[in-house]
Symmetry: C2
């Protein structure tokens, strides 16, 4: 029996925590600190209540809680004891541990991810990003209204439950119609797997295709987040050059002759980062090559809608008669980066497996958002917004191009891209682009040197300037700063 | 020069598609079908316009489009020709391909995912799920209102742009406060990685921890979606038995002595599927063991809030002084399954790497939803909803338990769980649970035989009956059907 149990317990009525729980934490704390040892007898509830100045029912509740959690044990006729099966000294749960969040893991692991080494962006800086849309143009009111309608839709509450890992059917139906009508595909809703955006579409596709050691051909220059994904999955990257007509398919063919190529990752519409469109002859040649060698083509059509000079070229997937193309698209560029809806379509058997994989990576999508987006597509709101955004981005492209052309000194050159959200600007050999970027950073203007888009030695002294997220005034300011630094570098 | 170009071209003014594009598709189609061969000279624009009955500007636009896309080539003084660099016969893009979506991939790949072999659920069936909440109770109006406020928040449009891969800061801050206050953790917002729900939290954590061949200990019986995830990553599963006090830690210790164990996946609060709570003594022993052998404990606290008899036991993570626990939680069970917000917290270095991995799997979360949920937490709305849901689920648990106890024949037994959203019901040895499930399925009542939660031979003849998503009336109907089938099996 515990006799002189010296405690300074003061019930804290202001805390809102039940008194019996406060007593429970007190006793568990005493056990953890080793002041009450395993096997120690505790006072009866009547005595405890008297000792602590609480009523008896409170003491009973406290013991019941501690018994239920295993801190105490009750021996039928003898009374209540600190559990004899608690190891003696180590701390355990009940009251909060005093320790802060650990810095280093106490378990063995291997960190395989490369840290992000980008220089910090100064607050208020103007960023030429790598070609993302302007979140300020997002169609907020129609989106908010569609969201509310879906959320409050009567008799459809089950939409808040679990759904197909392929994504909600209304959006797959709307997308399928859109892809078949506007992009020459022949999809069915069952042949589309929705994802949280391009990056997840890419990850899932690659995860299903790639085994460690597989060769994956990529455009050089190209899109580093895709490379990181392939490398994470154990792929060996085989860079293939890009020229003024897009990917050099002859070079890919030589590679295929030498060794098995599992997949080719491609941005044929507005090549990332050079903005070049893959020409028709190369498309025909590429599809035949992929069919012959059994290479999966991952076609990332990331900004299909934004094409200014001609009708957008139809995707490779529209001419895929051999089932070799896995087509990845996204609505994020069309609505807002934060609204992440992407998709993959391709051979049915593959898409079905993608759904199963997706269930393990991310059980299902956001069905409410997906249904809201389906409504926006059906109502034509997405197309109306695309037209407005299209006009804005077209004007911004021209504003940036004009500004750059007017800079004195002939230090840069570019081909006006037929579409997309960025310019690929090549600098004269005597301009040190890394230094240019650093000087601009100090002036609160961010550009990314083109070298980061190359596997190995860069073939061009270039920069990719995303213009879509900047207003004409912001673009003018950015160009002025660029001009000032170029002048400074000349002198 | 093309002379007699026999075409039946009829401009379709009703289609809404520009006439020059219709001409472009016509010519590209002729090239694809081999009726216009590479190198063939085309009529001049004036002649083409006359032939087709369109004005000359339209003909010029059509040729420009075809030239830009690479179907035609222009030779300065000689005129316009079908590009000589098109391979002769293979189809290519411009007009839609006639083929439907391919069934089988034309590339080499290996499908590593097991197909889902569950029997189809009959329409209108009453489903005892594995313990998911009732989407019909979701707090729709506050959620819709928070969503609208965030979406329309003035001057904060940048929230629609790209965000940290750890997730939006306001929600990490709100969660950190909640975890520290209510669950005894010591988190900081930088030490929390938001995910799309428990499944993604699990996948990312496992992806970072597990190398092919690693041993991962799991509860047996346990949670198959976690096992599938570990197996997909190449892990070897080591099942550890669960008894009335939770995981048998002694058995885990024997395993650790024999071979290196990378991780333990654990549901200590209401063990899945048995609903048993891991007792205090075992918790203390387990934390010491993990620290000694460098085992990461993946603590899946999937229904922390739903505890009826006592205060919820604090998580293992609250007593983790060695940085061995990776704590996974979710708000989906609290709000609605479709609103997927989960999180991982643990040693800072690991959480930082999780953020990098997350960027490759799923660039970022739904920042609008995340901010709306943060508002709901800050306003106390989540707690109010949790109290309401808590009361409903408590009553449903009791309704199901009472109904089962009243069934005649002594064919089943269960321990009333202290919390969670399901009962673990054990049947007498002479009840064939697989047959029970099949008979019920024909009566439009779905239960899942407990055998699917075991690695190897099942140690119990049981069923996990989720009650939370069913009203008392639905539960009564389900129990009546169960009773009828049991009677049928007896006779």
């Amino acid at each position: 029996m515990l006799r002189a149990w010296d405690t300074n317990f003061q019930p804290d009525f202001a805390s809102g925590k039940a008194i019996y729980l406060q007593i429970g934490e007190l006793i568990a704390g005493e056990i953890r600190r080793g002041r009450l040892l395993p096997g120690t007898a505790l006072p009866g509830t009547r005595e405890l209540a008297k000792q602590l100045g609480v009523n008896r029912k409170t003491a009973v509740l406290a013991y019941e809680e501690l018994l239920a959690q295993g801190w105490l044990e009750s021996q039928h006729t003898r009374g209540t004891f600190v559990s004899s099966r608690l190891p003696e000294s180590t701390p355990a749960a009940f009251a909060p541990a005093a320790a802060g969040q650990a810095e280093q893991p106490g378990f063995r692991w291997q960190n395989l991810l490369e840290p992000d080494l980008a220089a910090p962006v100064l607050p208020g800086a103007l960023v030429f990003n790598d070609g993302t849309p302007d979140a300020r143009l997002a169609p907020i009111p129609p989106l908010a209204s569609a969201y509310r309608r879906v959320l409050q839709g009567r008799g459809r509450r089950n939409q808040l439950g679990y759904d197909s890992p392929l994504g909600s059917l209304p959006l797959r139906e709307a997308l399928s119609r859109m892809l078949n009508q506007d992009r020459g595909l022949s999809t069915t809703p069952a042949g589309i797997c929705l994802t949280r955006g391009t990056q997840m579409a890419l990850y899932l596709t690659a995860r299903l295709l790639i085994q460690p050691g597989d060769v994956v051909a990529v455009e050089n220059p190209g899109y580093p987040p895709a490379w990181q994904t392939f490398r994470l999955l154990g792929a060996q990257l085989a860079p293939v050059a890009v020229d003024a007509e897009g990917l050099c398919v002859d070079e890919l063919e030589q590679l295929c002759r030498r060794r098995p190529v599992r997949a080719l990752y491609l941005t044929p519409h507005h090549q990332f980062p050079t903005t070049v469109t893959l020409k028709a002859a190369r498309r025909v040649q590429l599809l035949a090559l992929a069919a012959r060698y059994g290479v999966a083509i991952i076609e990332d059509d990331y900004d299909h809608e934004f094409h200014y000079q001609h009708q957008p070229m139809l995707p490779l997937a529209s001419a895929d008669t051999h089932g070799v193309v896995l087509y990845i698209g996204s609505l994020s560029k069309l609505i807002a980066p934060a609204l992440r809806v992407g998709y993959v379509t391709g051979p049915l058997e593959f898409v079905t497996a993608l759904g199963r994989l997706r269930a393990l990576v991310d059980r299902q999508g956001d069905t409410i958002l997906e249904q809201a987006v389906a409504e926006l597509i059906e109502e034509g709101e997405i197309k109306r917004h695309a037209r407005r955004a299209h006009a804005a981005y077209h004007a911004r492209r021209d504003a940036l191009a004009d500004g750059l052309r007017r800079l004195p000194g002939n230090q840069l050159d570019f081909v006006l891209p037929a579409g997309g959200l960025a310019l690929w600007v090549e600098f004269r050999a005597d301009v040190n682009v890394e230094r240019l970027a650093e000087e601009l950073r100090l002036r609160k203007v961010v550009i990314t040197p083109g070298s980061r888009y190359y596997v190995g030695e860069p073939a061009a002294n270039a920069v990719r300037l995303g213009y879509a997220a900047l207003t004409p005034e912001e673009l003018a300011h950015g160009v002025a700063q660029l001009g000032a630094v170029l002048r400074q570098l000349r002198s």
